[in-house]
């Protein structure tokens, strides 16, 4: 198998000793078909066991290994070394606090995710004896694309709005709100729109579109957010301009 010497510039930060982050150069022999995560694993195993980063599945499903690779938010398990002939710059996801090295704190995203209630809300739960909640293929296709989110937070790292105004609920959480709003089994739209159709919600989005460009699961959060703006606008018109209107 073809091998080459890969140079990685990795951003390091130790909260116990550092006040600033700094780059550290590693050089490792890697196989050409490896991904960046493999190179980091080799560094940790053979050169520097103190290097910290998150990963789990190694198959672009768990969403744990998001990092900035040459300035672009990427899953490191899905980023092939063969596409990066020069020195590879590896940094933690932007817009998130750095806990240590490449490990970021996802607390803000997790809190926002909870706020949009990303689950089916049924006003009255059916007894189990009545069987499953049925859905036609067409009803499924309406939201299926948006259910593919793996919560990797790459869209938050790409979104300049989130970086500049951290109170923005952000692409992934709003997309999941839209996913459940579109679900024929769900009755929680009104509760979600109280978070979604606000300044901090979808109206903070200025449609840069970076979220969709970096999404590794082709979810297209930008489309979900623009559709939510239309839904929110129609709700407002119905509520404020139509006599007796309720969204």
């Amino acid at each position: 198998m073809k091998e080459r010497l890969v140079q990685l510039d990795v951003l390091r930060y130790n909260p116990d000793t550092d006040t600033e982050a700094h780059f550290q150069r590693y050089e490792v022999m890697c196989q050409e078909e490896w991904v960046v995560l493999d190179a980091l694993n080799k560094v940790k195993e053979s050169i520097d066991p103190t290097l910290n980063y998150r990963w789990s599945c190694h198959m672009a499903v768990c969403g744990s290994c998001g990092m900035m690779i040459n300035g672009e938010p990427k899953l490191s398990c899905h980023t092939f070394l063969r596409d990066y002939p020069g020195v590879i710059r590896v940094e933690p996801l932007t817009h998130f606090p750095v806990e240590r090295d490449l490990v970021t704190a996802p607390d803000d995203f997790m809190e926002k995710l909870k706020r949009v209630k990303p689950y089916v809300i049924a006003k009255q739960k059916k007894p189990v004896e009545e069987g499953e909640y049925k859905q036609t293929p067409a009803q499924l296709m309406k939201f299926r694309q948006y259910s593919m989110c793996i919560n990797c937070m790459l869209c938050y790292a790409a979104c300049p709005e989130y970086g500049l105004t951290p109170h923005f609920v952000g692409p992934a959480a709003l997309t999941l709100a839209h996913r459940y709003n579109l679900d024929s089994r769900d009755e929680g739209r009104k509760e979600r729109m109280e978070v979604v159709a606000t300044k901090e919600g979808v109206w903070e989005c200025t449609f840069v579109g970076a979220c969709s460009e970096v999404c590794p699961a082709q979810v297209d959060p930008a489309s979900a957010l623009q559709q939510l703006k239309i839904v929110g606008s129609i709700d407002w018109i119905v509520e404020h301009l139509l006599p007796g209107g309720k969204p």
Binding site: A21, A105, G163, V208, G209, A222, S223, Q227, I230
Partner: protein, 130 residues
């Protein structure tokens, strides 16, 4: 051990130089200034028209000046670019589902371009240009 996470601020006035996609976004936003400026010009035209024939003729003469021609060319290019970015975006904002499938996005954006072209021809026809 207490947490002491490193906070990295986003530079508020230079962030868009970080990636070409942000520059494309800024280009879209900046072109809206030309669209806005042309709207102001139309309002001024209405005001000049209501001020009488002499004022109107003076306004028309000003429109033929080199600076005005440069502005109009720049405004037209900006309006084309700005409109194109939004027509391209319509397929994201207004997906059309037929049964289990979605209509290809190019059809939705294409329909907008088509309506734009037809309306432009109508305007040119009403104005007596064609």
């Amino acid at each position: 051990m207490s947490r002491r996470p490193l906070i990295r601020e986003v530079p508020p006035s230079t962030w868009f130089f970080r990636h070409p996609r942000y520059l494309r976004y800024m280009a879209r936003e900046v072109t809206s200034l030309f669209v806005g400026a042309y709207c102001v010009l139309l309002v001024i035209a209405m005001q000049r028209l209501s001020a009488g024939p002499i004022a109107w003729q003076e306004f028309l003469a000003a429109l033929r000046s080199p600076a005005s021609l440069v502005f109009h060319l720049a405004a037209m290019a900006a309006a084309f670019y700005h409109a194109g970015t939004w027509f391209n975006a319509t397929q994201k904002a207004m997906p059309l589902q037929l049964g289990e499938d979605f209509v290809p996005g190019a059809y939705i954006s294409g329909a907008h371009y088509l309506v734009w072209a037809v309306l432009s021809l109508v305007v040119l026809f009403v104005a007596g240009v064609i």
